[in-house]
């Protein structure tokens, strides 16, 4: 729980006004096992943190879920950048320049070939297989009789952050609402529609190899 971490709590309480907004419903997939038994889990569920000026202008974005340490580091950097913006005479240009500079300094992240193969295979899979692999391999929630557990794979910073810098180094609307679609759908690949509850037959998913799909090391 990133926002239950003391470092994050203290820094955010002191340096920000915190706010959350729901962008859409959680997507849940239920697999009917027959005989009254069902397995239900969440599929997907990315998030993004928008850092905004008091007038609502977005000046930085932390896409996807990350460890408390990474969120704390991003919040520290965002507060420091805000101190500069507070005294800036041209905030718009200061924001664009900040992201241009960061973009230039960021190494280009190259996706491993195994991950690319997995991504391509996933894109071509049927809906039930997609949901089951996402439940098992990435953002996953499992409903047990006694409690509900969500296990989330953090990361993706090296891929997503570069695209955030590209986005914010350009002009255009800069409210969280205006940036929601480009951040969630274009950068994070998480659709804002097709949410809610979906039910699949257990016969639907195609066979897939968890161990093979989970391999992400460079060859």
């Amino acid at each position: 729980m990133t926002f239950s971490d003391r470092r994050v709590i203290e820094w955010v309480r002191t340096n920000f006004v915190a706010c959350w907004e729901s962008v859409a419903d959680v997507r849940t997939a239920t697999f009917d096992l027959g005989g009254g038994r069902k397995v239900t889990g969440t599929t997907g569920g990315e998030m993004a943190i928008f850092f905004c000026l008091p007038d609502g202008t977005v000046y930085d974005v932390l896409p996807a879920l990350h460890s408390p340490q990474a969120v704390h580091a991003a919040a520290v950097e965002a507060a420091q950048f805000h101190d500069r913006l507070r005294v800036s005479k041209d905030r718009e240009e200061e924001i664009r320049s900040y992201h241009r500079t960061r973009l230039a300094a960021l190494p280009i992240a190259v996706e491993s070939s195994k991950r690319q193969v997995y991504r391509d295979r996933h894109a071509q899979a049927d809906p039930a297989t997609k949901d089951l692999t996402r439940m098992l391999l990435s953002k996953a929630g499992v409903f047990l009789p006694t409690e509900s557990i969500v296990v989330v794979e953090p990361g993706g910073m090296k891929f997503y952050k570069r695209r955030i810098h590209e986005l914010l180094s350009q002009g255009g609307p800069r409210t969280p609402l205006a940036l929601r679609k480009p951040v969630f759908e274009t950068i994070l690949g998480e659709p804002l529609t097709d949410r809610g509850a979906v039910t699949h037959s257990w016969d639907s998913p195609a066979p897939f190899s968890i161990s093979e799909s989970a391999l992400e090391e460079d060859e």
Partner: protein, 116 residues
Amino acid sequence: MNRALPLLLILASCGSPTPLDGLRSDDPERAAAAAEAYLARGEAAIPELREALKDPDARTRKRVRGVLSKLSGQWGSDGDGILWKTSFDAAMAEARRRDLPILVLNLFGRFDQELC
């Protein structure tokens, strides 16, 4: 008779149910009304609710956590964490007043409910 009146009033006030008694109730409607009473008090109710987390009854503690989650805007909060605004307009108003930037978490589902 007149002398007995203050004592009777004291005894009557001791016996009047508190919102916490409501959260302890077997009656779900009474518990829900008690939760609403705490929510109506807003952040001022948080210290009392934090104390109530020590209640020996697990069901009461769960209800207290539910109220704290709604008041703080974060599921599972013990009231000692971040106090989240759930309206961007309200966040901007406070940010202007305190001259602070805004951290806006965008997510699927609700942050004050389980399994967001």
